[in-house]
């Protein structure tokens, strides 16, 4: 028979364990590398466990994103001690996400998708990062702000401008109506 769980273990099970997948997805966005992403999640978990007794239970994901941001800053500093340090630089050096193909779960028009993919690939790293965190990883604006370490307004501004650039490309290709058809909206 296993011993009863401590308060910290119970809190960890309640607030942190359900977020493992989101943590990993976010870590992958930050590191662009599976092994580094795993290390970053483990570091985040260790830090979270040490701090769990001081956590008030409100907004666990946002709390974890802040911890992950700090862990990532530390990771980048260790990895590149001579780089005065901008973790976002990892995005500059990253593999282009748009080159990898994910599962096609929704019924989408290939041309529309290819234009979106191409436009996404040409966004600046800052813009791609927020699109990836919010649109691909489904973080809220606040959670994305916490993990990047910028104000929510900055997330909104980058995200909205990024999508507008994608939307402009859709317009240039004359694909607005194909998008409307796909959504089942009246033309």
């Amino acid at each position: 028979m296993s011993p009863p769980k401590s308060d910290a273990q119970v809190a960890f099970d309640k607030y942190v364990v359900p977020e493992l997948e989101v943590l990993y997805r976010t870590a992958r966005s930050l590191t662009r590398n599976t092994a580094d992403a795993e290390d970053l999640v483990q570091d985040t978990l260790l830090r979270a466990f040490r701090a769990i007794e001081r956590f008030d239970g409100r907004y666990p994901r946002a709390w974890l994103m802040t911890i992950m941001r700090n862990a990532n800053i530390n990771r980048v500093r260790k990895k590149t001690p001579d780089l005065l340090d901008d973790p976002e630089m990892t995005f500059e050096r990253s593999v282009d996400f748009a080159e990898t193909e994910g599962p096609e779960e929704t019924v989408v028009e290939p041309v529309f998708d290819s234009v979106v993919t191409a436009a996404f690939a040409t966004l600046s790293p800052d813009f791609r990062q927020v699109v990836e965190l919010v649109d691909l990883n489904a973080l809220s604006y606040q959670e994305a702000a916490d993990v990047i370490g910028v104000p929510v307004g900055t997330v909104m501004s980058r995200l909205h401008r990024a999508r507008k650039r994608i939307r402009e490309r859709i317009g240039e290709e004359g694909l607005e109506s194909s998008g409307a058809f796909r959504a089942g909206e009246p033309s």
């Binding site: 978990l45 996400f97 994910g102 999508r163 959504a183």
Partner: protein, 88 residues
Amino acid sequence: MMRMFRRRKGMSCDQVMEVLQSYLDGETDTETARNVASHLDVCDDCGPESSVYVNIKKSLAAQREDVDPEILETLRNFTDRMVRGEID
């Protein structure tokens, strides 16, 4: 004149465009969301524009990659060992 013509009860097209993306992300308050939804239902300009953004979001979301179940299992095991005090 055009602007007045485009104005719908509650919110103008410009006002809707300003909050449209936040609305689509579920980041507006309930009252704003209700007003935007009402506007989109009847506006021939903003409704289709909203659909384009919805589809951009869908297209981006479709690029999301599955997480390897083995990685999640590894992380769960790591978590179990950590809370049992086997990892510092």
